[in-house]
């Protein structure tokens, strides 16, 4: 049979048309110049300096965490260097009453949302005190099951909507995570309920060793929002202003009752996937690394702020010094946490009375611990 091309509908042209719609949103280029004047959020000088300070602090936190991990003074750690704009500028657009459901690489966001740094270190070491979230801090501990945070976000957002709150639920995953079923179900549920959620995909190009191209034939991850019928945007994830604006706008739509959004931040992690033996030189070239280093969010934001006379070497040194001191104090505080006991782990299983099996085991371990 001869192939018949429908004149009314051409699926290939249709796909290309959709792909072209997802151009990368950028405000600040690699040279620290505003290239999209209309979109400039016009943050105050104080706000700009605060955002830069947080990004620098977070870069130092990453450097110190890697070195503390190597000394055996931290456990599980997923490096964040390169993702400061994506993580910190998106968080900067949130309010205290917003709820964050982080992935395992998203410790900086929950720290800036109020989780004490010492607890973040205890999370890394594997101590339950690290996950005892203070009552007024709206975050969950970092999620290890990739995608689970997405469906849970749909639930938190629906809860906020039912409570009539003017707040949003915000979650993060990576490029690899966008292949999970829970990724799709999460954005689709939030869409169907028109819930106030912001779904952020930090596309750092690699899921461990698997390049982004192997995850999907879709040209962008942002366009996956179409499957859920929700607004979505591809953002330069190395540009703090663009990430801030995309998140701020998504938040505004959400609290106005216009439902969820999907944001893809195009970024890069300079370090390995985690500190548990991953070696990026096996799957990445130094060429790629240096290309992305030219896009560094801190470098371009520094140039921008220096040109405005808002930033200096002295100012940066001050932030670095402060970061190192706070990190040192937090490590000390984490060191002071009492060792975990089995009786405590048992006690944390249930509210109220323990079931018979745990009650029995509690008595056995209480006896052991008393010796």
């Amino acid at each position: 049979m001869a192939s018949q091309k429908s004149k009314q509908f051409d699926p290939v042209a249709n796909l290309h048309e959709i792909e072209e719609k997802f151009e990368m949103f950028q405000i600040l280029n690699e040279e620290g110049e505003i290239v999209n004047e209309d979109a400039d959020p016009k943050l105050s000088d104080t706000e700009l300096v605060e955002l830069m300070s947080r990004m620098v602090f977070t870069r130092i936190l990453d450097q110190r965490s890697i070195s503390l991990n190597r000394q055996g003074r931290l456990g599980f750690y997923a490096p964040t260097a390169g993702q400061e704009a994506s993580q910190i500028a998106s968080h900067y657009a949130l309010e205290k009453e917003d709820y964050i459901l982080p992935g395992y690489r998203d410790v900086p966001q929950i720290v800036w949302h109020g989780l004490p740094l010492s607890k973040a270190f205890l999370f890394s070491r594997g101590h339950f005190i690290g996950n005892q979230i203070p009552e007024d801090v709206n975050v969950l501990p970092p999620q290890i099951i990739i995608g689970a945070q997405y469906i849970q976000t749909a639930g938190v957002a629906l809860g906020m909507q039912k409570r009539g709150k003017k707040s949003v639920a915000v979650t993060y995953t990576g490029d690899g995570g966008s292949s999970q079923g829970d990724f799709y179900e999460g954005i689709n549920f939030a869409g169907a309920f028109r819930s106030p959620a912001i779904f952020i995909v930090q596309n750092n190009q690699f899921a461990i060793s698997t390049p982004r191209e192997l995850q999907t034939a879709a040209k962008t991850i942002a366009q996956k929002g179409i499957a859920a019928g929700i607004p979505s945007i591809l953002v330069d994830g190395m540009d703090p202003l663009a990430v801030f604006v995309a998140t701020r706008d998504a938040r505004q739509r959400a609290v106005n009752g216009e439902g969820p959004s999907l944001i893809e931040t195009m970024c890069y992690r300079y370090g390995p996937h985690t500190m548990a033996g991953d070696d990026p030189t096996r799957y990445r070239t130094s060429d790629t690394d240096s290309q992305w280093e030219k896009k560094d969010p801190i470098v371009r934001f520094r140039k921008y702020l220096e040109a405005k006379g808002l930033w200096s070497e002295e100012k940066e040194a001050e932030v670095i010094e402060k970061a190192k001191e706070e990190i040192k104090a937090a490590v000390k505080e984490a060191d002071a946490a009492p060792k975990q006991k089995v009786t405590e782990l048992i006690r944390n299983m249930n509210d109220g009375d323990l079931p018979y099996n745990l009650q029995e085991q509690y008595e056995i371990f209480k006896e052991k611990e008393s010796k």
Binding site: I129, Q132, A148, Q152, A154, L158, G159
Partner: protein
Amino acid sequence: MAQLTMIQAITDALRCELKDDENVLVFGEDVGVNGGVFRATEGLQKEFGEDRVFDTPLAESGIGGLTIGLALQGFRPVPEIQFFGFIYEVMDSVSGQLARMRYRTGGALGAPVTIRSPFGGGVHTPEMHSDSLEGLMTSQPGLKVVVPSTPYDAKGLLISSIRDNDPVIFLEHLKLYRSFREEVPEESYTIPLGKADVKREGTDLSIFAYGAMVHESLKAAELLEKEEYSVEVVDLRTIQPLDIETIIASVEKTGRAVVVQEAQKQAGIAANVVAEITERAILSLEAPVLRVTAPDTIYPFPQAEAVWLPNAKDIVETAKKVLTF
């Protein structure tokens, strides 16, 4: 008091809790305007509104995530999984997330959730509707698992489950939904979780069962009575945690025991009950504790249910082995 079927008692319990606690939310696939595929939520959306009783997209995993998120916002979710065979789609939310919430946050956050789901054989359902998968749940620390066998128990246990501040899996046997009626009080009442119920007293043998197998065991006890055997039938009601006290007291009295489940021998919870008895009451035993279970195959094609599912005859046979050991 009213004569209710088990499904009516379940609806009644949901109504009581929706009325008593504004944080209770009922949701799932077709539970809203449709009233549920088995009418378990009939009339509830009309009475309490779409904000309290609502339908979801068709995705069990998403329902699990929705449940967790709503619990984090202070709600008391009572989601439904249409058939428990579909639990595999939502295993992470249940076992990987809900069950661990309180522990992983060092007690800071809880998950007051009750997952309702029908299961069970004997009604010729299509594939993956009737499988007994309770054993998957009982092996997961952090979950309680409840399986009622009567309308009275169903109402009291469901109200207790909903009020529990930790996750409960509430499994409703399809064959028992409308198989008989029973007096059920109109007002709210609770039955403690983790408490078994002696449905029939006896002195020669203890039969431990749950779900539809309670009724098969009662039938078996009748048949054995004709042969002068006095059989005690204990309905476990909660299968995680087990009511060790009641189980052991019964075994110490009778000296002989059979554990009955509809699940395959390698599944279910019968092995747990046997192990607990041997650990705690071996000196009271006159005979080994035997199990009545289904064969270790995949759940049968509908036409093979009658020859595959355990029944009163199988129970009598095994009981006699124990009684004449």
